[in-house]
Symmetry: C2
Subunit: 434 residues, 2 copies
């Protein structure tokens, strides 16, 4: 299928932050093959998208979530992390079935596509259910699988689970025309013991996948780690070989100067999760300082249970504001930096080298945003407008791998009513038993 | 005109925070005359609104804005207050005409109604243009008029302007069937000299109107005031008699313990403006501490030039999160407190005793929110859902004074395309000369 996007004002998100006006984009199957002012004579499109008066940008990338937890939206608010987990979340998760995870993943994916997100990095259980949802919806994702936090441990034993994990990582790597990628999940240094940290590190090396970990989220996580290991979680990661892999680290809120230099040296990609870090009272990650040091943070929603949406526009808005307030410096972070976090840096956090930027040769993961809503009028600077004024509801069209997943604000691969019905039913069953 | 709302799940926002299920609301002209489980035999409605699967709540109240500045949306970001004003805003405002203020006010009002806001407290110039927009749209507002910061000073001289101000305050008080109220604008202690602070205070007393002031917004405002007066801005307000009136004070970011007690004693209503205070690097107002002391803060967007929207859902979301992050305490503020700020406390900040709550005898200012969007599924707790998951785009129906201003997401009193066209044209002219 060949797709042409006409009259495109493109926020490319390339290294020069180029903004191109009134362009033609040609997409052959899953790839961008041409960007220019004229319609190329060689290209015969099967369909044409008119982007007049819209912003064409790379799809937003949600670099840390637990997609199926969308079932637990607003289940438990205004509680600290420990009580939130023990009272609100764990009792529900104890009863999760394949179908619940599928329905939760479908709901989360539907919400993400509708709000302009084209890819996500996921840490959860019953991965096969998530894979089915990804296959059915057409979104891009990287699924993280834990060596022994896998839901198959009981069934297969520890060694069996390890084999299953390795097989999962390898067999789903670059699957579904490259839409799916895999990574090794290490939940955290506090939930995973030292031998398994070493094992996970080796598994990532052997399978050539990145590691996805919760790191330095709360002050008590860091304090307890120092008590247990005599060092910070990041230092434990260095010691156990984890940092010799590509690492995408969610949260990184309580990071001292030494740890930050370690992150820079080892090219760790921190994922900023402002909603979740505030909702759970964890604090503010020092994203401006990281950026100053040359670290390139990505952006994520975390799970809806601690957010309570998967709306990357809300997350961009928060990321653009909170650091200015906290540092009492209106130039602490700017809209351009926030957009990088949500696009090009996100692609790196997910281990996709071929998306996050609109450029010839890249995959066609594209979000098209209306600029004619009341909240975008008057419209001048697309960068400011996207971060400070746009809402998820302004997203008009979404493509992943060259396929149209939303057109004129309507999902094309998802039956929205059925997804809401199924998710509500799953949630009702889970909540009734708790 | 008699209106009936059926199948209403009502977040009343009364003192007991009652939530009523499956109710009938009867509205006679501008007033709620009945709330109950059964349709009363005596009531003959001219129109019926079905609120099944929706939340019925008091209209949101934007307690501090500069509505016509919506023309300057995204004009100037990532700058501190002083440069933002001098470089971004003042050059534009120097050329504002009646028509610009009218078009800007229409745009801002349209955006507010569309996002569920039914009333606002406004501080700006060329009030007659704002009055025209309010008359044409049906929204509720309190307009603040400055004794000598009025745009009529040049034309009328100081004494003439004073008379004009007094006349404006009295003649528009409770105007348009009580939809309009007036207040004395004191821009700030730093822009208004001491004799005028005293004069403004007397004017408020004589006209029995409240005072609307920017107070303790930035650290430098407080420091400079101490240098100039040997006391804080709040203490200057006490000294000049201002605090012997009803005072609605925007921002109140840098307030020490003594000042906070003064606010409590004098029943000052602080207005929290989280977006603006972060965008301009001003800091975080200690709203949780104020609430703990028994002060009842309201919530506002400030002008779109320092926000860059007039979206109270965004503002509620920010108010619910930032204090949890800043204090590293997930229970620092809860969703119920944030909803009070945006409704019942807002009504008091605007000097309207008869709205902000859904109750028999109150004005029918009502916002009806859909609960069936993806981002609200699964739906259980309306309080959490409204603050943490709802978006402006979920607002379905808006009534002010018993009149329907939006139905099925369509504005009824405003030609949205024309409002956007006119505002864009005004902005283009203003920007082209700067």
């Amino acid at each position: 299928m060949n797709t042409m996007i006409k009259n495109a004002d493109i926020l490319t998100m390339d290294d020069d932050f180029s903004i191109l006006k009134n362009q033609v984009i040609c997409i052959e199957e899953d790839k961008i093959v041409y960007i220019g002012e004229d319609e190329p004579f060689f290209f015969l499109p099967n369909r044409i998208i008119n982007a007049k008066n819209k912003i064409v940008m790379p799809g937003l990338i949600n670099s840390h979530t637990h997609c199926a937890m969308t079932l637990m939206r607003n289940r438990s608010n205004d509680l600290p992390l420990e009580r939130w987990l023990q009272e609100g979340i764990f009792p529900i998760e104890a009863n999760l079935t394949y179908r619940d995870v599928y329905c939760g993943a479908m709901l989360g994916i539907a919400e993400m596509i509708k709000s302009g997100t084209t890819a996500y990095l996921d840490m959860y259980y019953i991965h096969e259910a998530s894979l089915e949802a990804i296959a059915n919806t057409g979104i891009r994702a990287n699924l993280s699988y834990g060596v022994s936090t896998s839901s198959r441990v009981k069934e297969l034993g520890k060694q069996g689970a390890e084999k299953y994990c390795k097989n999962f990582l390898l067999s789903n790597k670059k699957a579904m025309k490259g839409r799916v990628n895999t990574s090794v999940e290490i939940h955290s240094v506090y939930l995973v013991d030292e031998p398994e940290l070493v094992l996970s590190s080796q598994m990532a090396k052997e399978t050539d996948t990145l590691i996805h970990i919760h790191l330095h989220e709360t002050q008590s996580e860091v304090e307890n780690c120092i008590k247990r290991y005599g060092m910070t979680p990041l230092q434990v990661c260095a010691k156990t070989g984890i940092l010799n892999n590509k690492v995408t680290a969610a949260h990184t809120v309580h990071v001292n100067d030494e740890d930050m230099l370690l992150m820079k040296e080892k090219k760790v990609i921190p994922v900023h999760n402002p909603s979740s870090n505030m909702l759970l009272g964890s604090g503010f990650a020092d994203i401006p300082k990281m950026i100053e040091l040359g670290i390139k943070p990505a952006l994520g929603t975390d799970g809806a249970a601690s957010n309570n949406t998967l709306d990357m526009f809300k997350e961009m808005h928060l990321a653009s504001l909170i650091h200015k307030g906290y540092k009492m410096d209106s130039s602490a972070i700017n809209a351009q930096q926030v957009l990088c976090m949500a696009t090009s840096s996100g692609a790196k956090a997910l281990g996709f080298d071929d998306c996050g930027i609109i450029k010839t040769g890249m995959k066609a993961d594209i979000t098209i945003v209306n600029t004619d809503s009341l909240n975008m009028t008057p419209f001048y600077d697309p960068v400011s407008a996207l971060v400070y004024s746009a809402r998820a509801a302004d997203v008009d069209t979404v493509l992943v791998n060259g396929e149209i997943l939303m057109k004129d604000k309507q999902l094309t691969t998802i039956d929205e009513e059925k997804v809401k019905f199924d998710a509500a039913k799953s949630a009702a069953r889970l909540y009734s038993t708790n």
